[in-house]
Subunit: 316 residues, 2 copies
């Protein structure tokens, strides 16, 4: 176990506001605004963006322009353009668009999996195997990430056993996932439970462990990020202005807010490559487009501390 204050020198924030954020709110952003969001996020230094989800447009009309956004994101230098795919059909669209990464979500809660995906978790594992075969046959370099959600419990089923989470993570790796990640989909995690489960997940997946995804439903997203950061996790999903929320809790907070997370990292000496004033300016623009929707986060109200130095500018 490293000492408490040994944090990774660098970490990546994957912006998921365009997918996890927008899919949970009413407003449908025009494609031109989404493209401006992607461009300005890239200009602010973000290098991984989940641009959308290849689900049928009748289910999520907010994300109907995913193919167009992916094509645009692919033109930006150094950007890892990722998409969510719910199944093989979505993966075929991601491969057609030459996504850099596609994320297949699996819910470790059987009840949540059946309700949301109409498949058992093990059927999702089997689907990942088919996606791997399709990717290998396509000649594309698109990485496959298997994301284990409801990893800390679920609003339908309640408890989700860590052993089941880890079994499914191993099954995803065995089925051909290049990367695996853990998501606290409903905001049930606390830093102590994060430390315990992430330590086991890292031991199991090693270098193939990819990302932590924390919802701020109960205010603990950043504390949970910190707990996993201490274990060496160095990639986190976040949404600008914390948009997202939970369909079962009106007004509830969404993902960790990208700008607050970037502040936590940079202030702690963990370089992200992000220009925080530029990211805050983009936040102002996006929340303007989303007038009337619940937005979250704290840094934007107070601004950066007078003493703030970006991590890259500190002697290391």
């Amino acid at each position: 176990m490293p000492p408490l204050t040994t944090l990774p020198p660098r970490a990546v924030i994957r912006e998921v506001g365009l997918r996890d954020g927008l899919q949970s709110i009413q407003t449908i952003l025009p494609t031109a605004q989404k493209i401006a969001w992607i461009d300005q996020a890239h200009a602010a230094g973000l290098r991984e963006i989940e641009v959308g989800s290849f689900v049928p447009a009748r289910l999520l009309p907010q994300l109907a322009d995913t193919a167009e956004l992916l094509a645009h994101a692919k033109t930006l230098p150094g950007l890892c353009a990722s998409v969510l795919v719910p199944n093989l059909r979505g993966a075929e669209a991601a491969l057609a668009g030459d996504a850099d990464l596609m994320l297949l979500p699996l819910s470790a809660s059987h009840a949540h999996s059946l309700a949301n995906l109409r498949k058992t978790p093990d059927e999702v594992v089997a689907e990942l195997g088919r996606i791997r075969a399709a990717r290998d046959a396509s000649g594309r370099k698109t990485l496959i990430e298997g994301g284990v959600g409801t990893a800390f419990g679920c609003t339908l089923q309640g408890e989700v056993k860590p052993a089941e989470v880890l079994r499914l993570m191993q099954a995803l790796l065995d089925a051909g996932a290049d990367r695996v990640s853990l998501a606290d989909t409903v905001g049930y995690a606390d830093p102590a439970s994060v430390s315990r489960l992430f330590e086991q997940a890292l031991r199991l997946a090693g270098e193939r462990f990819w990302c932590g995804h924390f919802h701020d439903t109960r205010g603990l997203a950043l504390a949970n990020v910190y707990a996993s950061l201490q274990l060496g996790v160095n990639r986190f999903d976040a949404s600008l202005a914390g948009i997202g929320g939970c369909p079962h809790a009106p007004g509830a907070s969404g993902n960790a807010a990208s700008e607050d997370l970037a502040f936590l990292l940079e202030a702690g000496g963990v370089a992200t490559g992000i220009d925080l004033p530029q990211l805050l300016a983009l936040r102002g623009q996006v929340t303007g487009w989303l007038a009337g929707e619940a937005t979250h986060g704290s840094l934007h109200r107070a601004g950066l501390p007078k003493t703030f130095h970006p991590a890259g500018a500190l002697p290391r």
Copy 2:
């Protein structure tokens, strides 16, 4: 250094909403409502409450009824009733009211100290010496806490050197403080800086280190609590609904929200003695009284997880 997941078995939340919270907002709560707040906080299991501040009523009319609140709080069984005192005159009032603890704030930022207290930090240390003499002469058992504020920087002066924070903490102990604590008055701290400074403070003050006080100005209060909890700190200031804010940043978050902090602790197996549903009910009542004021926190929107067990109810 203990392993990451070894947290203290118990921790105390000191409710400071009646002092730090109310002094920063416009609404003046009637004494009867403050008494109801104290009674219901006690009924919900809180055992330390800062009921007010012995400052001249013309400076803080919101807190003019501190003596009356202290007298009431002293009637509640097992409650540690504390007050803030800015100087010897305030301490004399605290001794007259037989407070269980009086907190003398010191600002490690010289600029902030001169602007807010019209004294240098070392003049505040000298005042603590006079307060100690008065306490000893009074025969009261009132504990004296010296709180080092702006410990992570300051909006006026900018940087505050950790060596100066620690020098002043040692000076407070030498001058007769029974307890010392650290406050991130303006929300400049991040978990990494908290780990570093609190580790040194604990080494310096040992058992006389008392409390961590974190403002959520930039969203990191609970992550900062977690970082100090990992070092064994087991007492934290917090305000119901996170009220407080910062006079220099309109709408900015105040203290850590008591209810979200209690959730972090209890979910992580750290017993607080607090009944969270009762505390959430009180939050609803208090925010009703403060209609129009900015309130904060997340747990109240989503409610407790289906899987939640109070720490005391878990096998340990």
